[in-house]
Every structure is written in structure tokens, then in C-alpha cells.
């Protein structure tokens, strides 16, 4: 069973990455912080008695589910808002919450403005951030879990609820898409 210290150390080791993962997905820092907080509390309340070595995978699962819950709530909210305010229609016939659509509406605001005043390296990192955010959700999830969270293919597949082959495909596509987009921007890491 994980002790308080083990749990605390684990949460400290993953909180920033979890925040970025959530922020990539929901594109809103406040919502991302709420999601990470919810995920941490769920892990602690429900699985605080599990061995420390089981925590990373459990936390990833909880985090991904909490992100999905956010999108479900967002979809319901969007449906109700569009129902009551359909007089001021900007887009017709598309009530579904679309991550990419949402991204495009915010593209070029916070990240690009802040990166414009910083050194080249920071600019590159900011652009990389954007390019990762642009990846399709499943590809990004697989890529981040495999290469940032150090999960193996089987663990990633189990957390994502798909086959190991799909994980490999998602990772490969994400890697190629990132490499291509960074090359197009003339960026070197």
C-alpha cells in the first residue's frame, strides 16, 4: 500500500505533465487545473490504498476519464446554450463539440503572443506545444502516454481502451505528423 509520502511524491512527479496533457486536450488552463485536481482526488480517495507501483497507470486512466467527462459536460452545456440562444447563430447544424474547431478559435492568442517576446528556444517550445495540441486527440494521447509518461504499449492500450496495434499506429502517425509540421516551420529541436 502506498504511504502518504509515496502518494504525495507520485502526485508531485506527475502533476505538471498531467496539467499539460489536460490543457492540450481541453485548451483551457483553468479547466485543465480543475481536471487535474479532480483526477488527483479520485486517485487518492478510491485508490489511495493501492501499491505505489500501480499508481501511474491508475492515475492515467482516471485522468483520461476525467477529460472525457469534461467533454461530455461541455457537449451538454453547448447543446443547452445553443438551444436557448439560437437567435444569434454563428454556425448552423453543428452542435457537436469539436476539439479542433475549438483550437482554431483560440489559435494564435496566448501561446504565440507570449512566445513572441521570448528567446528562440522558448519560441520553439511554444510552437512545439501548439503542434502537439493540433494532433488528433487519440494520436496525442498515445504519443504522450508512450513517450512522456513512459508507459509501455500494453499499458497505453489498456488505458486507451484499444488494441496494441492501434497504439503503435497512433504513435507512429503522431511522430510523423509532428516531424512534418516542425520541418515545414523550419524548426529544429
Amino acid at each position: 500500500m502506498a504511504t502518504d509520502k509515496e502518494l504525495s511524491d507520485f502526485l508531485e512527479s506527475v502533476d505538471r505533465r498531467a496539467f499539460k496533457q489536460a490543457a492540450y486536450a481541453v485548451r483551457n488552463e483553468e479547466s485543465a487545473l480543475d481536471i487535474v485536481q479532480d483526477a488527483m482526488i479520485k486517485l487518492s480517495e478510491k485508490y489511495g490504498d493501492k501499491p505505489a507501483e500501480e499508481l501511474p497507470m491508475l492515475f492515467q486512466r482516471i485522468l483520461q476519464n476525467t477529460i472525457l467527462d469534461f467533454f461530455r459536460r461541455e457537449k451538454v452545456r453547448t447543446t443547452w446554450v445553443s438551444l436557448f440562444s439560437n437567435m444569434s447563430t454563428r454556425k448552423d447544424g453543428n452542435d457537436d463539440f469539436d476539439i479542433l474547431e475549438n483550437f482554431e478559435s483560440e489559435e494564435g492568442t496566448e501561446a504565440s503572443e507570449s512566445s513572441a517576446d521570448k528567446v528562440e528556444r522558448e519560441q520553439i517550445l511554444a510552437i512545439l506545444d501548439e503542434e502537439i495540441q493540433k494532433l488528433p486527440a487519440r494520436q496525442r494521447e498515445a504519443f504522450l502516454m508512450r513517450y512522456w509518461e513512459d508507459m509501455d504499449v500494453a499499458e497505453t492500450a489498456s488505458t486507451m481502451g484499444c488494441s496494441e496495434g492501434s497504439v503503435k499506429t497512433h504513435c507512429s502517425r503522431a511522430t510523423h505528423a509532428l516531424a512534418k509540421s516542425l520541418k515545414a516551420l523550419g524548426i529544429r529541436l
Binding site: M1, D4, L7, S8, L11, E12, D15, R16, R17, F19, K20, E29, L33, V36, Q37, M40, I41, L43, S44, E45, K46, Y47, G48, D49, R121, E122, I124, L125, L128, D129, I132, F143, R146, Y147, W148, C171, S172, T175, H176, L178, A179, L182, K183, I187, R188, L189
Partner: protein
Amino acid sequence: MKTTMNNSSPSSELEFAYKVRRALDERITELPESTTQRLAQARKMAIARKKPESLAFAVAPARRLAGAMSGGSSNPFDHSLGWLGRMGIAIPLLVLVLGAFGIYNMEQERRINDLADLDTAVLTDELPISAYLDHGFDSYLNKHGE
């Protein structure tokens, strides 16, 4: 370091992925103070609501028993309870086997006694009157009498 992957071999993919990973690690060290404070608060809240340990203690003996059964266990405390665990399983199993054997013997003896009673009744012609009132028995006797 170039980001481009000249060929798409798994090793070049992996190399690129790890470059991205390093960049991401670098990026998260620059999170704003307000964000890191909020994350620290979230951690504290989570720790304060940790699942109590008492439930784990309740489950522990069962786990030890399971460990003793499987024979392999990495927990050093399992060795001290190994004998107890094994006896705790072996004795009920022995009782169960002996009980089943006893019931089987009793049942067998009862069957033999029933058959013996029937044989004795036939030999001493002490058939119950109901046997003669049974049409099936009559037809059986007639058939065999012919």
C-alpha cells in the same frame, strides 16, 4: 539536432520522440507560479482525502493466505505466516475429504441394508399386500408364470 526524420525506421521515430519528450520536460519547468501553486493545493487536497488504511489491513490476511496458496510471495511477512496459512488450508481440506468419505460409506451401508431387507422379505415371502394390489406386479407374475 534536426527534427526531421530522414527515414521512417522505428529507431529514428524513437529518437525524434525522445527529443520531443526532452522539449516537453523543459517546457513544464516554465509553468507560471499561479499554476504550480494551484497544483500544489490540489495535491494537498488529494492527500487529505486519501482512502483510510484500515480497509487495507482487513484485506491483508486474505492476501497472505492467497500468497501461501500460490507458494510464491515477495512479502517477507508471508514467511512467518506460511505455516499458519498452509495449516489453515490443509486442515479444512482434510476434514472435507474425511467427511465426504464418511458420508459415502454410510450411504453405501444403508443401500446394502435395504437390499438385504428386500432379499429377506422375498425369501420369507413376506411381501407386503400392496405389492399384490399393484397391477404391474400382477402382470409381471403372469408373464413369468407362463
